[in-house]
Symmetry: C2
Subunit: 154 residues, 2 copies
């Protein structure tokens, strides 16, 4: 197969890079007409094909890509790049709230009793602001930026 050369390095964690990888993958798919295999994609992202398939699994569940088994199989965008916004991508692959609330404050304390609820409102609004911002950028826009900085295919 036509897997790209990969040079291994790295470790760093935890803080999910799934969103970044998902956007990377979708950008590749948007630039290619044919279906791309997880093996090929892994070469561009510099990771393991299984990691790619895991993320593509989430994107598939969200209806953003389709998968085909067998020879000449692989992944394809299910929706035009212009119709995909980064909020949808984020929500497809990231589970946890960006801002966490602490558990079990002391209910005997007026602050402990109420702070979780009040903080929940604050953090939800802040997170919503972030997602609204992501929603304003389409995959097509990113693809355009990549193309503007390059010429040629992968």
């Amino acid at each position: 197969t036509n897997r790209l050369n990969v040079t291994k390095i790295v470790t760093q964690m935890p803080a999910s890079t799934r969103f970044a990888v998902a956007v990377h993958i979708l950008t590749l798919l948007a630039l290619q007409d044919e279906a791309l295999t997880s093996d090929y994609i892994a070469g561009s992202v510099s990771t393991n094909p299984v990691v790619v398939r895991r993320i593509l699994g989430a994107l598939k569940q969200a209806g953003l890509v389709t998968a085909a088994h067998g020879p000449r199989g692989g992944f394809t965008l299910a929706v035009a790049a212009r119709e995909i916004n980064l909020r949808a991508v984020y929500e497809a692959v990231e589970e946890r709230n960006v801002i966490a609330i602490h558990g079990n404050p002391n209910p005997q304390c007026p602050v402990g009793r109420t702070i979780e609820n009040i903080l929940g409102g604050v953090t939800n609004r802040a997170e919503e602001a972030m997602l609204r911002d992501l929603a304003a950028t389409s995959l097509a826009k990113l693809v355009g930026q990549v193309q503007r900085r390059n010429a040629g295919a992968c």
Copy 2:
């Protein structure tokens, strides 16, 4: 000392709860005239005094609180609650970017070569949107909300 009764439970992780705890602590300080000890505060938050001191250390570095050693010591707001906004609190205690970028994409690929840079812009803007939202809420506002749902001190 006058430590509150604590009932232990819980475990859950990783995803920092420092912001939530910091806001909780600052709310306590804003409601009290006297200096509060880390031991007392730990009782309301339901955690260990060292955890409280760690977070208060960050808040102190940010100029939001002052600390006093020795008997009758403890922590006090260094700034009026109306002057403290939640963005300042967040930035004082949280280090990592809310959205991570993946490392080492393949530089031989047009996408791999450029995606980190482009994604960096996207995530910075999204994060900035979140922080702008947090900046719009003051500690005094939260304190007001707590008071509205309670009567009495801790």
